[in-house]
C-alpha cells in the first residue's frame, strides 16, 4: 500500500537519510530557534532533539500565544469573568494560565461561567443563544488566529449580536523577531519560522527583518521531514556563510501569503503596541480594534480596575522565550513550577517550552 500524503512527511527512511546528512554536514556549533510553539511540540513528540548532532542546539522561541500573553491580560480575563451576567469564552490552553491571582479554571470552579470553545464563532453562537448575558471572547493568537477573530467581529456586527465582545491580546510575529534580534545577549544562528503563521503572512512578511539582521531563516511545516529538512537547510546556510530567507513549506505557504485573510484582519484591527509576557512592550506587535469596531471591545465595556502586579520572582519564562535560557536552567523548573502547579505560562500551555521539556524530556 502506498503512503498517504501525510505519511510521506513521516517516512522513517527519508528521516534517517536527512539525519545522516545533517550529521555529515554540520561542523560548527549552531543555535537554532524554532519560533512557533507547535514546532516545539512536534520536535519533542517525534524525538527529533536526540537525533541531531551535538553541534546543534534547538531553542524554543516566543511563538506560543498563551506563553506570551501578559499577566495583566490574564488578570483582565479573570476580572471579566467576575462581572455579573457574563460568559467568558476561551481556547482551552488559557484556562489554567495563572494571572497574578487566580486562573480562569479557578474562576470556573468558584462559579463563574467560563466556557472552552474550539472556534471564536462558537462564542458568537453562545452570544446569540444568551441575549441577556454579555459574552466575551479572550482573543489570544498570532496571524493564524487573528483573521478568524476579525471575521467573527464582522459577523457579530452584521448580525447585530451586540452582547458579543472580545478582549484583545493578539500578537504579530515579525515585530517580535525584530525585537528579539536587538535584545542584548540574544545569539541565534538560524530561525525555523512558523508554518501556520506564514500561510497568512507569506514569505514577504519576514523580508525586512531578514534584510536587517541577515539571520538564516527557513519557513517549514510540522511533520518530522519538514523540520529535519529545515534544520539541514539552516546548517547549509551557516556552513556556506550565505544566509537566506527560504521557504521549505511551499505546499502551504506562498510568497504573498493569504491576502484575503490579511484584508479581513486589517478591516477590523489596526497595528498597535503589545505587552509580551516576560519580554515587555514590543512596538507595533499587537492588534487593536479599529474605531468602527470599538463597540466590540470588552476592555471598554467593563470597568475592570486592573492593577499592575510584578511577574513572579525567579520565573525565567522571558529569558526562555528569547533563547537566553533553557527551561532546565530556570531555578523554578520541576521544583516549584510543574504542569500541576505552573508558575509561568511556558509550563501550562501544551505548546510551552517548559511543558514540552517536562512532558517529553
Amino acid at each position: 500500500m502506498g503512503l498517504t500524503y501525510l505519511e510521506k512527511f513521516r517516512d522513517p527512511s527519508l528521516a534517517k537519510q536527512l539525519v545522516a546528512t545533517i550529521h555529515k554536514e554540520s561542523r560548527h556549533p549552531l543555535r537554532l530557534m524554532e519560533v512557533c510553539g507547535t514546532h516545539t511540540m512536534a520536535i519533542f513528540r517525534h524525538g527529533i532533539r536526540n537525533l541531531l548532532p551535538e553541534t546543534i542546539t534547538l531553542l524554543s522561541g516566543p511563538g506560543c500565544p498563551v506563553c506570551v500573553t501578559a499577566q495583566k491580560d490574564i488578570d483582565a480575563f479573570v476580572a471579566v469573568s467576575r462581572q455579573p451576567d457574563v460568559i467568558v469564552t476561551t481556547f482551552g490552553d488559557l484556562m489554567r494560565v495563572p494571572g497574578s491571582g487566580t486562573t480562569l479554571a479557578g474562576q470556573k470552579g468558584a462559579g463563574a461561567d467560563v466556557r472552552m470553545v474550539y472556534s471564536v464563532f462558537d462564542a458568537v453562537t453562545i452570544a446569540r443563544q444568551n441575549p441577556d448575558k454579555q459574552v466575551v471572547f479572550c482573543a489570544v493568537g498570532f496571524e493564524t488566529t487573528i483573521p478568524t477573530i476579525a471575521a467573527a467581529v464582522l459577523m457579530a456586527a452584521k448580525e447585530k449580536v451586540t452582547n458579543f465582545s472580545i478582549y484583545g491580546a493578539n500578537k504579530l510575529t515579525p515585530p517580535a523577531l525584530a525585537a528579539l534580534m536587538t535584545t542584548k545577549g540574544v545569539s541565534i544562528d538560524g530561525f525555523i519560522l512558523p508554518g501556520h503563521v506564514s500561510v497568512i503572512t507569506g514569505v514577504d512578511a519576514y523580508r525586512s527583518v531578514f534584510e536587517t539582521h541577515k539571520v538564516p531563516s527557513v519557513i517549514t511545516g510540522f511533520e518530522p521531514i519538514d523540520i529535519l529538512h529545515a534544520v539541514l537547510m539552516l546548517v547549509r546556510q551557516n556552513e556556506s556563510c550565505v544566509p537566506a530567507l527560504e521557504n521549505a513549506y511551499p505546499r502551504a505557504v506562498r510568497d504573498s501569503g493569504n491576502p484575503k485573510a490579511r484584508e479581513v484582519m486589517h478591516q477590523v484591527f489596526t497595528v498597535g503596541d503589545a505587552a509580551w509576557r516576560g519580554i515587555g512592550l514590543i512596538k507595533n506587535s499587537g492588534m487593536e480594534l479599529k474605531p468602527d469596531f470599538k463597540a466590540f471591545d470588552a476592555g471598554d465595556r467593563f470597568e475592570l480596575n486592573l492593577i499592575d502586579v510584578a511577574e513572579p520572582k525567579g520565573c525565567a519564562c522571558g529569558e526562555i522565550l528569547m533563547g537566553l535560557k533553557t527551561p532546565v536552567a530556570c531555578a523554578l523548573y520541576k521544583k516549584v513550577c510543574t504542569p500541576m502547579t505552573p508558575v509561568g505560562p511556558c509550563m501550562v500551555s501544551s505548546e510551552g517550552a517548559c511543558a514540552a521539556y517536562y512532558n517529553y524530556g
Binding site: R45, G47, D93, M116, Y118, T145, P339
Partner: protein
C-alpha cells in the same frame, strides 16, 4: 404507573413508596431478572466458592449520557466487569446504584437500564442488588450510576501491577483512544467524517481465555482515564521497572488519530473503555497475543513495547522516525491547541 403518564422520572420514584415499587417491579426487575434480585430482600445472598475473591467499585458521571456506540448504562456495567477482570478474577455479581435527576425522560431511563441488562448478559454477570434515588432538578446531571462487583480468582492466578519484569512484552488489546474521542466529539458537538464510536466492552471473556490457557500473565490493567500512557507509568512505578514503547506498533484508528492531530491531543493519554494492557513473559507473548486476537474485542491487538531495567519508573517512546521521548503521566486534563 405515574411515570408513564408523566413520561419523566419524578421525586416520587425515589421516595420508597408506591411509585418506587412500581419503577422497580415494572421496569427494573423484568430487565435484570435473576433469582437473587427476585428475592426482594435488602441485599443479595449467594454462596461463594473457596479461594480468593476480587471486589471493585466505580461511579459513572459521563456527559453526555448517550454517545455513539453506547450510553452510561453499558459503560457502568462494562467498567466494573473489567475492573474485576483486571484483578485476574471471573466477575460474578454486580450491584447497581442509580442517582437520577428529577425530570429524566422515562424513555431515556428505559434505554439506559436495558443497555445495562444487555451488557450484564454479554459479560455473563448478574445484577443482584441495587438502589434508586431521585434528587431534585439541578442537584444531579440527568443520571449518575455506581456499580460494584465481586469475582472469583481462579487458583494459581497472581496478577498485579507490581509484577512486571524486565524482558516482559507489553500487549495492548486493540486501538487506543476510541472512547475518549467519541465522548469528546459528542460533548462538543464536533462532527467529523468516519465512525467515532466508544470501544466500551466487557473484557472478562478475553481475560478468562488468557488465564485458563496456562500462560503466565504478570500484569493486567485497563487503560481508562489517563489512557495507555498514564496506566503504563503507574505500572512502571509499581513494579520499579522501565518501559519502551514503539510508536510504529501502536494501534490507532486513522480517523481517531486525525481528530487527535486536529485538536492537539496525544492519543496515549485518551481514555479507553474496552481495552486492556497485558504484560507477559517474552516467551509467551505471541501465544497470549493470539488468544487476545481470537476474542471479539481483541482483533486489533498488538505488542506495543517491552519492559526494561533501564530508568525505573519511566516510560519512553521510540518514535516512528527513530527518535526517543518520555511518556510522562498525564497532568490535569488534555487541552486543545490554539494555533
Amino acid at each position: 404507573m405515574n411515570a408513564e403518564k408523566n413520561n419523566t422520572i419524578l421525586l416520587d420514584h425515589g421516595a420508597g413508596g408506591k411509585a418506587s415499587h412500581a419503577l422497580f417491579s415494572e421496569m427494573i426487575l423484568p430487565l435484570f431478572s435473576n433469582e437473587y434480585l427476585a428475592m426482594g430482600d435488602d441485599g443479595a445472598v449467594y454462596s461463594v466458592p473457596a479461594g480468593k475473591m476480587a471486589f471493585s467499585t466505580d461511579s459513572y458521571v459521563v456527559d453526555p449520557i448517550f454517545f455513539n456506540g453506547g450510553n452510561i448504562g453499558d459503560l457502568a456495567v462494562n467498567g466494573t466487569v473489567n475492573d474485576i477482570a483486571m484483578c485476574g478474577a471471573i466477575p460474578l455479581y454486580i450491584s447497581v446504584g442509580l442517582i437520577i435527576e428529577e425530570g429524566l425522560p422515562i424513555n431515556d431511563f428505559q434505554e439506559i437500564i436495558t443497555s445495562m441488562a444487555t451488557a450484564a448478559d454479554r459479560a455473563g454477570v448478574k445484577i443482584v442488588t441495587g438502589d434508586t434515588k431521585v434528587v431534585p432538578r439541578g442537584k444531579a446531571d440527568k443520571i449518575f450510576i455506581n456499580t460494584s462487583g465481586v469475582g472469583m480468582i481462579p487458583e494459581g492466578v497472581n496478577v498485579s501491577g507490581s509484577r512486571a519484569l524486565p524482558g516482559d512484552k507489553i500487549i495492548l488489546s486493540g486501538t487506543m483512544a476510541d472512547h475518549g474521542i467519541a465522548i469528546l466529539t459528542a460533548r462538543e458537538g464536533l462532527t467529523f467524517d468516519g465512525d467515532l464510536k466508544t470501544d466500551s466492552a466487557p473484557l472478562n471473556h478475553m481475560v478468562k481465555a488468557m488465564l485458563s490457557s496456562g500462560c503466565e500473565v504478570h500484569v493486567l490493567r485497563d487503560p481508562t482515564r489517563g489512557g495507555v500512557g498514564t496506566t503504563l507509568n503507574e505500572i512502571a512505578s509499581q513494579s520499579g521497572v522501565g518501559m519502551t514503547l514503539f510508536e510504529k506498533d501502536l494501534p490507532i484508528k486513522k480517523q481517531v488519530n486525525g481528530v487527535c492531530e486536529l485538536l492537539g491531543f496525544d492519543p496515549l493519554y485518551i481514555a479507553n473503555e474496552g481495552k486492556l494492557l497485558a504484560i507477559v513473559p517474552e516467551k509467551q507473548a505471541s501465544q497470549v497475543l493470539d488468544l487476545i486476537k481470537a476474542d471479539t474485542f481483541g482483533k486489533n491487538a498488538a505488542i506495543i513495547g517491552e519492559v526494561t531495567d533501564q530508568r525505573p519508573g519511566k516510560v519512553f517512546l521510540e518514535t516512528a522516525i527513530g527518535g526517543q521521548r518520555l511518556v510522562d503521566m498525564l497532568t490535569g486534563e488534555q487541552l486543545p491547541r490554539i494555533c
